[in-house]
């Protein structure tokens, strides 16, 4: 439901920089987002220095043009908007915020910034509207519009008939009255415009044929759109003005000014799709023969087909009229095919959750002693039959919430294009696996990390063209985005053929930032993983595209909250590949059930590196408090889950328990548990009301025996352990002391 970046946008404290960042992500057709940007700009303008207000006002104007549907060149407009916002940023920075905001001095002088009746300030619903009344109005209007449509069709075949005109006129009149009463200004204005236009037809000033007829149809269509928008707004869907509302208002006011007349050829808007031909319809209905019609039309080329058919008396007026109407309805309305059912997401989520419970419940039955005793073969057979069905139900329910990554990837493609243009390079964006599916709840969440990685690749990875030529690479950089499924995970790889990560530069930077000590012996992987540290940025200069100090650590954190991981591989001068590995769904967690004392916990499998029972010689203690284990030549701190969580009767001797290595890079540690019970899929649920966040616990899940098991959060455990041990463990040993 929530669009990318909506969280950011709902925040009223956006800066111009934020807006600039947002604009590159929005499609020109994304009216709701543009309306929000426009609103935010108006807010910003109020508190901006005078010099910045003009560019902001200009940008707002461009947005209006674009959303108003007047734009012939949306990408040009987009570039203009970007330029104006940049100008505003510069102006704001120059003035240093010392200048008094313009609007405080002369509030009346900034009319352009007021929400106008233009598209951006579009309001489909009044604040105080009574939903029941609105609902009634919407239904009533639908009927009226349907009536008006039928009358218009009739009118077109018989322009002299006064009765249809009156029907249409009355429909618009009624809608105008009610919408005015309900405060639906746009509907009432449009209805008013259409009413005045129709009054000219009624007064026989003009006839409802040709261009006028089209205009009448367009008014009805627009009215339909507006009512649909009002209905959506009633359901809480963000509203946006339909394309061309303002244009239509102008046309209705003075159709002749736009060259509309009774001539058919002068059709505004043009015909996008060819409707079926009139003759074909008549033939199909068996009212006339094809040859007859063709002969008639060939004889009277100066006449419209309908007239020609009438004159040749091949079909009656009613038949031709019916065919005309059918033609109109076939061309006008979208095909009504009910191929899908819209289901509320919360219901779907609930269903999937329940299916998860069903799977667990069924596994309880299947594992029951009675079933497995071997004495009841028939029962066993039945249970295994249900087992198959349950699994199918699970697969099916999971697939219901899966959506392809296509939309996300297209947004990224757009972003790459814009970023490349801004850096005056060309980048060849190659998406692979657009149809890879992912849980719809995760689509929005994975967008931001991916955008971040792409920005990084474009800004820091791919060199400027001249540098590339010097290094013997093609001028055009290549950015490969590859999405695929791999073992219950979705993997998205972002590869560039840029300069790659420079090992020495990273070490230099890490030392200067105090993240590592000089002379520290580290493997290549460890060094590369330093780029995920907070505050780490290898770019020498900060650009407007990326590199504001918040870096890859944000990406890693975001991916880890989704129970995924980011890996990076690079070759200096050849390029760099980031691969984001995420579970297909957040609904089911693959976990390892571990026992600590009388408690059981679920450790997400994705977090587990390996587990082993240590020998006494790899264990040692430092200053009596910090315990360490030497594993594969690395020194890792040991955290005792039983002491962190204060659990009694747990195994306290590591050589009798089990060490599980979790976390990565500087957060790697060994967790002491009693034993592993086994692997289990669980449905993650929030802890009960009022408990809030428990350090070290990511959530709860119902286990096979009906008890609630707690899902461990490795990062939280590390933080918890750090708090408890505090300064107890010497810094050289606690690897994450640098953060």
């Amino acid at each position: 439901m929530s669009k990318n970046g909506e969280g950011d946008m709902s925040n009223n404290n956006l800066t111009l920089d934020d807006i600039a960042a947002l604009i590159v992500q929005i499609e020109p057709t994304d009216l709701a987002d543009w309306a929000r940007v426009r609103r935010e700009l108006n807010v910003i303008a109020d508190s901006s220095p005078t010099s910045a207000q003009r560019p902001i006002a200009e940008a707002v104007k461009r947005i209006d043009q674009m959303t108003g549907g007047k734009a012939s060149d949306p990408s040009g407009l987009l570039a203009d908007i970007g330029a104006f916002i940049e100008e505003a940023i510069n102006a704001t920075e120059k003035s240093g915020g010392e200048e008094t905001p313009f609007s405080d001095l002369e509030p009346e002088q900034a009319p352009a910034l007021e929400p106008s009746a233009e598209a951006g300030g579009f309001k489909a619903l009044p604040q105080e509207a009574d939903p029941a009344l609105l609902e009634e109005f919407i239904n009533e209007s639908r009927d009226l519009i349907a009536g008006a449509e039928a009358a218009l069709l009739e009118l077109e075949t018989d322009p002299e008939n006064a009765e249809p005109v009156n029907i249409v006129f009355r429909a618009f009149h009624t809608i105008k009255g009610t919408s005015g009463f309900l405060g639906l200004d746009h509907i009432s204005k449009l209805a008013h415009g259409a009413e005045s236009f129709l009054s000219r037809i009624r007064d026989k000033e003009i006839r409802c044929i040709g261009g006028y007829a089209d205009l009448a149809f367009r008014s009805v269509d627009m009215l339909k759109d507006l009512i649909r928008i009002a209905q959506d707004a009633l359901r809480g869907v963000p509203m946006a003005a339909p394309d061309g509302l303002n244009d239509l208002m102008v046309l209705l006011d003075e159709p002749e000014a736009a060259g509309i007349s009774e001539d058919v050829c002068d059709e505004p808007g043009g015909v996008e799709e060819m409707p079926p031909r009139l003759g074909d319809i008549l033939v199909a209905q068996g009212k006339a023969g094809r040859q007859e019609i063709e002969a008639a039309v060939a004889d009277q080329t100066d006449q419209p087909v309908g007239m020609a058919i009438l004159r040749s008396e091949i079909a009656s007026l009613t038949e031709v009229g019916q065919a005309l109407r059918k033609q109109r309805s076939m061309a006008g309305s979208e095909p009504v095919t009910e191929m899908s059912v819209r289901v509320r997401t919360d219901r779907l989520d609930r269903l999937i959750e329940m299916v998860g419970e069903l799977v667990i419940g069924h596994s309880m039955v299947a594992q029951d002693e009675t079933v497995n005793s071997g004495n009841y073969l028939e029962l066993q057979r039945k249970v295994s039959h249900t087992d198959k069905i349950v699994r199918q139900v699970q697969d099916l329910s999971m697939s219901m919430r899966m959506v392809p990554l296509k939309a996300t990837i297209r947004k990224i493609a757009r972003l790459v294009r814009d970023l490349a243009r801004r850096r005056e390079t060309t980048i060849n964006f190659v998406p692979i696996g657009e149809d890879t599916e992912i849980d719809r709840n995760m689509v929005d969440l994975i967008n931001d990390p991916l955008v971040h990685l792409v920005r990084n690749a474009v800004d820091h990875g791919i060199e400027p063209p001249h540098e590339r030529e010097k290094n013997g690479k093609p001028r055009e950089g290549t950015l490969l985005l590859k999405a695929y499924h791999s073992g219950g995970n979705i993997v998205v790889e972002i590869s560039d053929d840029g300069r790659g990560l420079d090992r020495n530069k990273i070490i230099e930077k890490a030392i200067s930032k105090g993240l590592i000590q000089p002379g520290q012996n580290m493997s290549d992987t460890e060094i590369i993983n330093l780029i995920f540290q907070p505050g780490f940025s290898t770019a020498d200069k900060v650009t407007d595209i990326s590199g504001r100090g918040v870096g890859l650590d944000v990406v890693r954190k975001a991916v880890e909250t989704l129970r995924g991981r980011v890996d990076v591989s690079t070759e200096l001068g050849k390029g760099c590949t980031f691969s984001v590995r995420l579970p297909l769904t957040m609904a089911i967690t693959d976990g390892m059930l571990v026992k600590v004392g009388n408690q059981r916990y679920i450790l997400p499998t994705v977090n587990i590196d390996m587990s082993f029972r240590p020998n006494a010689e790899v264990l040692s203690t430092i200053v009596g408090r910090g315990e360490i284990v030497v594993f594969n030549g690395k020194v890792l701190p040991i955290f005792r889950l039983h002491s962190l969580f204060n659990i009694k009767d747990a195994v306290e001797d590591p050589t009798r328990g089990l060490l599980i290595i979790i976390g990565e890079g500087n957060q790697r540690c060994a967790l002491l548990v009693d034993e592993l019970i086994g692997q289990q899929q669980v449905v993650a649920k929030p802890l009960g009301d009022g408990i809030g966040k428990v350090r070290g616990i990511a959530g709860g899940a119902i286990l096979g025996d009906g008890r609630v098991g707690l899902i461990l959060d490795p990062q939280g455990i590390a933080v918890l352990a750090r708090q408890i041990s505090d300064s107890g463990i010497p810094k050289e040993v606690v690897c994450w002391s640098g953060t």
Binding site: Q599, G688, D689, V694, R695, R707, L710
Partner: protein, 167 residues
Amino acid sequence: MDETSGAVEDTGPCKEDLYEREAPREPTLPLVVFRLGREWYGVEITKVKEVIRASKITYLPSCPEHIAGIVNLRGYILSVTDLKPIFGLPHEEPTEKTRIIAIESGVFETGFLVDEVVASIEVPVSKIETALLTLPAERGKYLEGQCKVDDKLIAIVNVEKVSEKRA
């Protein structure tokens, strides 16, 4: 249709009888009475969703003392509040009679861990004392009032205040 309208006319003279009121009764407060240690407490029945057996409470680490843990309530996770630390009572191991009273107050849901659910009674509102001189202020904060029923003193728990403490 004729019959119906006739029937309506017939009831006409009885109108006064229909509107005759019952003798005014004193308003009462329905309570679920439960035992904590040796003390009796009550909670408004309108806030009680159900009573379940206290089994398999999952202990939550690093949580305040009055949070006993969480339980599975038909697929939902319900938090369990231990009222004893709140009212300064000593901890006791659960017994056969230990129950969880699932409380639903507004958007907030939790379970009260109690030693025994005694009864469901109706207490005349006039019998409820809101002054709680016998209790220290710290504990009194979590009570709405108290009343005496059959020589037993029943303290009425203020669900909202308890839920605030949790948050």
